[in-house]
């Protein structure tokens, strides 16, 4: 069969690959989307089962996914097995790389918290001197956020806080329970805002590329989707230096194939994108490809009990519902010990037996008494994308398809330690002021990668010496190559990155469509 040149080749079908496919095909441009994993058949591949019917009673096979702390025996088959695609890290610098390889990427599994970044993030260097500003501001991205929020049906309240920009929300009108109101009141006295959560409702129980983006592209008749296609190299034209296609390997047979393309969009997920660019030996004239890796710390927090909800009195009026404390540190004042800030997820109602230093009948009695009175806070803290936090290729260790793997060298420091301590002490004080019984305080946080919010390593900057892509997600080195995932983020912020990834992918795709129309790319 004669080799055909596709208009736009999209590598990856998660949130940003799906968004690029939707926008471009709706503008009349043909796209071919490759995904390294299989197509999902949700009905066939997933079923409700009790743990008692699983071979390991819910524990999963020992040692199977040591770095995927989110995994259980129920979900183990959905994650990438690190024996198939290994990675490593220097001794003492654990990194939990959590990956999915199926059409739709990680998009079916995200937490759905839906936030905009504010200019405290976009103009972070102006604010505190660390890192680099983004080449865009909230004003540039706001119209795209609005459209993304509409597609994803983000439910939320207007809070009128500059660090927590409002958006195009489905109104959240559930009244607060008395416990949550008391916690919010306690926060107000301490200068800590407690808002309602914001999250994507999606459609039909899902808010993923799989159901909200890709079907729209399919409906245009201009999308070709190829699963099980593992791109091992982006190829370039020797004369022009432009990207001219890819070489990919069929996952099943290991058959190697080439594909030619006019435009290449890389949307493989932060570290897979950077790995592919490194293997392809492109997009690194700045020397910054692979650097400034950042994410958010999770895991620190408190567990408490709301006294009036005990002994079966925890009605919805008394307790229940969640909340969010958006960043409040280092905005107009300076907090000693750490830069940037954290947000806090707040939830109420559920209880966990691990909170109690009891066992046997005494524990059972506690659970009966305290049942339904639980209250927790959990940190989402911005980590700093130091230059030293980086990834590099490990050619000595290859994956199941012969591709070099990644060495991930990153670690947290005093900034994260002090941030977590401040969060635990502050929310414990708020809970006590609200009359709750604090049962556990945990200052420890999870290793880098755990939040599945890896960002950076191909950051955005209009100066080609300081970044890999420009403000349109376009490679400085290769004008017909765009990167749409979170690898382009110059800083992490405290926010779940999904809304920003989607808005940037939408904006970049519209720019690309215009440039194609003008004949500029």
């Amino acid at each position: 069969m004669a080799e055909k040149k596709v208009d736009v080749l999209i590598i990856g079908s998660g949130h940003t690959g799906g968004m690029a496919a939707k926008i471009l095909t709706e503008k009349g441009i043909s796209c071919t989307m490759l995904d390294a994993g299989p197509m999902i058949n949700w009905e066939r591949d997933r079923t409700l089962k009790p743990a008692s019917q699983l071979p390991y009673r819910g524990f999963d096979a020992p040692g199977r996914l040591p770095h995927v702390w989110q995994s259980s025996e129920f979900s183990a088959n959905q994650w990438v097995d690190e024996k198939v695609i290994p990675y490593n890290y220097p001794a003492g610098q654990q990194y939990n790389w959590v990956r999915v390889r199926t059409v739709g990427g990680r998009s079916p599994y995200w937490g759905r918290q839906s936030f905009r970044l504010s200019d405290y993030e976009f103009k972070c260097k102006d604010h505190d001197g660390f890192g680099e500003n983004w080449p865009i501001s909230l004003k540039d991205l706001a119209p795209f956020y609005s459209r993304v929020e509409d597609i994803f049906q983000v439910v939320g309240d207007m809070d009128n806080l500059p660090q927590y920009p409002d958006g195009n929300f489905v109104k959240e009108d559930t009244p607060r329970s008395a416990a949550m109101q008391r916690f919010a009141d306690a926060g107000k006295k301490m200068g800590v805002p407690v808002t309602k959560p914001r999250s994507s409702r999606g459609r039909d129980g899902m808010a993923a590329s799989l159901n909200l983006l890709i079907p729209d592209a399919v409906a245009t008749g201009r999308l070709t989707t190829i699963p099980n296609a593992i791109v091992r190299k982006i190829t370039t034209d020797k004369n022009t230096g432009l990207a001219d296609g890819v070489i990919f390997i069929d996952r099943h047979s290991h058959r190697e194939m080439t594909m030619k393309a006019r435009i290449v969009i890389v949307a493989a997920g932060t570290l897979e994108t950077t790995r592919l660019l490194m293997i392809s030996e492109i997009c690194n004239s700045s020397g910054l490809l692979g650097h400034h890796l950042c994410d958010q710390i999770y895991g620190a927090g408190i567990a408490a009990s709301v006294p009036e909800a005990r002994n079966g009195k925890g009605t919805r009026a008394v307790i229940g519902g969640g909340g969010l404390i958006p960043r409040f540190r280092n905005l107009e004042t300076k907090t000693p010990g750490f830069m940037r800030g954290y947000a806090v997820n707040v939830s109420s109602g559920n209880l966990d037996p691990r909170w109690f230093p009891e066992y046997g009948p005494a524990l059972q009695k506690k659970l009966e008494e305290y049942g339904g009175s639980g209250f927790t806070t959990n940190i989402m803290g911005e980590t700093l994308g130091h230059y030293e936090n980086h990834v590099s290729l490990n050619k000595q260790v290859v994956d199941a398809w012969g591709m070099p793997t990644l060495t991930i060298s990153t670690k947290y420091g005093a900034n994260e330690d002090n941030m977590a301590k401040d969060m635990v002490d502050t929310t414990a004080a708020m809970a006590e002021a609200a009359g709750f019984e604090v049962l556990v305080k945990n200052y420890k946080f999870n290793p880098p990668g755990y939040s599945i919010h890896e960002q950076g390593t191909a950051r955005m900057n209009d100066d080609k010496r300081k970044g890999v892509v420009n403000q349109w997600n376009q490679s400085h080195d290769i004008k017909n190559l765009f990167i749409t995932d979170a690898s382009v983020f110059p800083c992490a912020g405290w926010q779940n990155p999904t809304m920003t990834m989607l808005a940037l992918a939408m904006r970049a795709s519209e720019y690309l469509a215009d440039e194609m129309k003008k004949g500029n790319v």
Binding site: P50, A51, Q53, R57, N77, V80, W355, F356, G360
Partner: protein, 249 residues
């Protein structure tokens, strides 16, 4: 789809007819009188039958045959822990999860046997944590009460357990080694008990909701692990790199 089936059927027909003719040509002189047209017709009929059978099997619906967990009729063979550690584990299990309200105790649910299997199959650091921890429980009980943990009263056992019980949240059990062990074994015994078939049966008898139900993901097309396990090979190049060719060529 119909067209594809037709093409496939055509290919099978051709192959089958070819085989039949080849077979005929190898037989004795009497085959010369064989009506080749009849043979072809017969082969076509066989092919149609095969295609029909394949279609029938493709549309077959699996009958509903209820299946049971092996624990309903069999017990797990205990083989990993030493006798002393096993005795400590059994005693600990029934202290933290005694029977009550129609639900089985940890031992009635086979939790110690399950953990013997699980820990025996676990990475070395987890085995070490369990072995050291069980030994420590035994040593502490002897030191405080002068009896083996396995034969201790509830009060004597409590003296060895309670000082190391700590509340914890998220993925962060206590870091002090023995506190960590107590947190882990406590969690594991509870889970092995409450996720057991015996516990599920008790819930059913009590008319309560089936416990521990979750969304199970099957291996997907055909499972990421397959590629490592079966060692699929990659075709070697015969056109490029000289290194791939014999040195003497």
């Amino acid at each position: 789809m119909k067209r594809r089936d037709f093409v496939k059927g055509l290919a099978v027909t051709t192959a089958a007819a070819g085989t039949a003719l080849a077979h005929a040509s190898k037989t004795s002189a009497s085959t010369e009188t064989l009506d080749q047209a009849a043979a072809a017709t017969q082969a076509t009929a066989q092919t149609d039958a095969r295609a029909q059978r394949a279609r029938q099997m493709a549309s077959f619906h699996t009958p509903n045959i209820p299946v049971s967990q092996p624990d309903v009729v069999a017990v797990t063979e205990q083989r990993y822990f030493t006798a002393a550690r096993w005795a400590t584990l059994v005693r600990f299990s029934d202290l933290v999860m005694p029977a009550g309200d129609g639900y089985p105790s940890a031992t009635q649910a086979g939790a110690p046997e399950f953990l013997d299997f699980l820990i025996g199959a676990s990475p070395a650091d987890r085995q070490q944590m369990y072995n050291t921890g069980l030994d420590r429980l035994e040593a502490d009980c002897h030191k405080k009460s002068g009896v083996s943990f396995a034969k201790s009263s509830a009060q004597q056992a409590d003296g060895a357990i309670r000082p190391y019980l700590k509340g914890w949240i998220n993925d962060h059990p206590p870091t002090e080694p023995h506190e960590h062990f107590i947190a882990m074994i406590h969690r594991d015994v509870r889970q092995a008990t409450m996720n057991s078939p015996a516990w599920a049966t008790a819930a059913e008898v009590a008319g309560e909701r089936t416990p521990g139900v979750g969304l199970y993901v099957s291996p997907i097309d055909p499972g990421m692990g397959t590629w490592v396990n079966h060692g699929a090979t990659r075709a070697a190049s015969t056109t490029a790199p000289a290194a791939a060719k014999p040195a003497h060529s």
